[in-house]
Symmetry: C2
Subunit: 178 residues, 2 copies
């Protein structure tokens, strides 16, 4: 049950409408917790019902009208207890590793192309993260506690992509010698 908390975090960083949230989930937060606009709208409804957020007063409340949400004290409290909650890491789900394992049984035809494709995608993502890092967290500045935490999160994304880039590079080299 992480999505509501992802939304609370995003709304605390900045009150937003459903679509704005969707966009922000396409980057930033979405880098480690993705969601479709559908999930987000549904969850916003639930959160409002639960009294964790509220829609900022709009001139005319009509369907199809843009609505901005902000977090209420109850929502902030809920997020606080969730942060301290303990939760076991879920095993990763990597279809590509599964494919390779299957390839060991039925043959690796066509796998090379897919590996290169993924390599390019991860390389691209890595570059994007690195660009964000040098923009938002220059090495020559002291940062506040919240910023240090945010930087740690970004480092997580960076190292994760680096892992993929290196593994894929190695895998291609290994397959190349066949």
């Amino acid at each position: 049950m992480s999505l509501p908390h992802a939304i609370l975090t995003a709304l605390l960083e900045k009150p937003s409408s459903g679509l704005e949230l969707t966009r922000r989930f396409d980057k930033s937060i979405g880098y480690f917790w993705s969601a479709t606009h559908q999930q987000i709208y549904r969850e916003l409804g639930k959160l409002e019902q639960a009294g964790h957020i509220r829609a900022l007063p709009a001139p005319v409340p009509v369907r199809g009208q843009r609505k901005e949400y902000e977090v209420l004290p109850a929502g902030r409290a809920e997020l606080g207890t969730w942060v301290a909650r303990s939760e076991d890491p879920k095993p990763m789900r990597a279809a590509l590793l599964l494919r390779m394992r299957a390839a060991a049984v039925v043959g690796a035809t066509g796998l090379r192309a897919e590996l290169s494709r993924h390599l390019a995608l991860h390389q691209e993502q890595l570059d994007e993260y690195l660009a964000i890092e040098s923009r938002d967290f220059p090495a020559d500045r002291r940062h506040s506690e919240p910023d240090r935490l945010r930087h740690l999160v970004l480092r997580g994304g960076i190292e994760m992509e680096r892992f993929w880039v290196e593994w894929l590079t190695g895998a291609l080299a290994e397959l190349g010698t066949e």
Copy 2:
């Protein structure tokens, strides 16, 4: 739709019953594609219906009776085309990174303990992988193509765990200086 293919792969490696599969999913395959026994039984039913696998003839076919499954040619063919299929990498889902991001907003109380706990878990998993590696893939032997692929998959698991161990270690150090 990876689960059926994970099962086909497992069954090709060795025909098994539902419960045996469940156990093998608790390790090996499950390291990068986990599944509960429920999912597995349901999927076995579907795969049988689709003509991809069949139950080995049993003396008395009763409910509650153990059933062994083997892959049929149609199932092997299906797996072959799936291996060559192209599929975009899904963004990772890391609740821990989300927690840290939330902590940047509402405060990091209680997060340290959770980080240490995860560190221990990942370290343990890493050690397990390394043990498997030195047992199954000793450096001084040439390996067959399928074995080289399986080794690559295991390397993936190893490097992934190493990523977590390093990131968590760094994060704890960073939080320690607060």
